[in-house]
Subunit: 342 residues, 2 copies
Amino acid sequence: MRATQVRLAERPEGEPGDSTYVFTHDEVPDPTDGELLLRVVYLSLDPYMRGRMSAAESYAAPLEVGDVLVGGTVAEVVSSRHPDYVAGDIVLSYSGWQTHAISDGRGLRRLDPSVVPISTALGVLGMPGFTAYAGLLEIGRPKPGETVVVAAATGPVGSAVGQIAKVRGARAVGIAGGPRKCRALLEELGFDAAVDHRSETFADDLAAAVPDGIDVYFENVGGEVTRQVLRHVNLYARMPVCGLVATYNATTAPAGPDRLPGFMGLVLRKSLTVRGFIQGEFTASHGQDFLREMSAWVADGSVRYLEDVVEGLENAPEAFRGLLAGRNFGKLLVRVGEDPTG
Amino acid sequence: MRATQVRLAERPEGEPGDSTYVFTHDEVPDPTDGELLLRVVYLSLDPYMRGRMSAAESYAAPLEVGDVLVGGTVAEVVSSRHPDYVAGDIVLSYSGWQTHAISDGRGLRRLDPSVVPISTALGVLGMPGFTAYAGLLEIGRPKPGETVVVAAATGPVGSAVGQIAKVRGARAVGIAGGPRKCRALLEELGFDAAVDHRSETFADDLAAAVPDGIDVYFENVGGEVTRQVLRHVNLYARMPVCGLVATYNATTAPAGPDRLPGFMGLVLRKSLTVRGFIQGEFTASHGQDFLREMSAWVADGSVRYLEDVVEGLENAPEAFRGLLAGRNFGKLLVRVGEDPTG
């Protein structure tokens, strides 16, 4: 039987195109002693993957040309010669853009399909949810009554940020692209206000949505949205920075004027806290609390989630382009193989 | 008898010039019940004063045209109808750019001339010293063996930052303008390394001075110095931001490219903490600890200070221009009147 892999064919300049990827079809391998064979069910697509495609320094080593693209996955154990797993187990793994993978068991986490849908391990109960939880609670530290603003707010990080803010008694304002996403923020995700950054009246709409200013801006976008948000930050506002998806495809420094001195002046005048982070920093200290609290919030409906599932690994490249352009609607997943629980 | 006041004649565009100021000579006032008359001995000149001259929003309300320029002062009580003070007392006050002032006692602190020179209340044991202490220890949080970098390092904030870093077991690297200041950093202030930002080899010299990278950059300058420093920041580096003197005279946003996206990318890749602050935020929580610890460090020689004393209020405008251009050498003071303790 043949497996399918998606590999980095060449480093993209700007937006990844078809020539970025090459599909290969190696034989499905057999596990040796201590190993297990995984069949990928869901592949998570996330903005950080764009960074791995570039040779430039990032917070993780870049991929080499020819490597299988990395990514979080939910997989089914096909066959096991590992003492801790049997065929049919469902696990969270980091198998990447491929249909099958061999694992030695390291880094796997067994999932219980009877509790929550297994796909949530890649979203609200996975890395994006933990990014929201750790960044908001450890860096943003919203107090009851404060205003929390997040962009890409229907995405898996943004939607969790706003809803956790609500759980903590803060006011949640979401920024998203288009009226459909904004409606979902209000009607499905319980945000207090939603602002469409594609609207011509975005600047005024945002101002109207934050009458008491902004105490926490959870930064996952960058660019023009951030510029408008910064006009409203309050004294002592906090700005966790977990991503800058608006700039990931940029190939040159943007034209002037140079906005850095003005930004630093704002940091000074408003005594702002700006803190970059990668969720892994907080895994040891907050990972268990996250799983316990977030599972409870999902179970009792305090935190809801949206998923955007694309069928088939062959559609992953186009879906990833859409992710960087904000065309997904909720947590973007690729269904690589049949979901045995669904 | 006539007093002298220096008032804001017009808001400066760029560097303050002679037309920024007007000298007036009002009658020395008499204190009424509950008041006291102060004679200013030392006036502190500090970069924040530039912000007060502008109408633009800052962390404090701007001065109005016609107002006496503000500033910290050490003064002698000339006559008192206030129960807590008698003639001859020396106090820390906020009397501004003038020879005499009436006070109702609020905000005064009595100084003991037998312990340390009274001028230190405006420098190492005053607002600049506290800015260094609170920003370095509460935001920078240097650990033993870490590298702390500060610019304007012979100035009252920078010199205290480096020396407190040394007390805490960190490595102190100072940036200053010109070989004379750099020599003082090494020979008088005990820095581990000194780098001249006016040298043509500044970038290389800085790289050589921070072989283990930078863990804390205490930002009080901005501009090109900061750009070079940012090339060397380590993962999880902290950046307390207390001033941006290099940009205070700027009248327009600098030409491109726009460096803000690159800076935010660095914040993300390195998990940086950037935190603006004004020392007053920490007065209630850390003011007493500061006076106790810093007085002890000054007394035992762990922390030394440099003063640059200009004679006569009439020379304050030129001295202030020099401050913004980095021409002072140590804490810049104007001796407005005779020092009764000196």
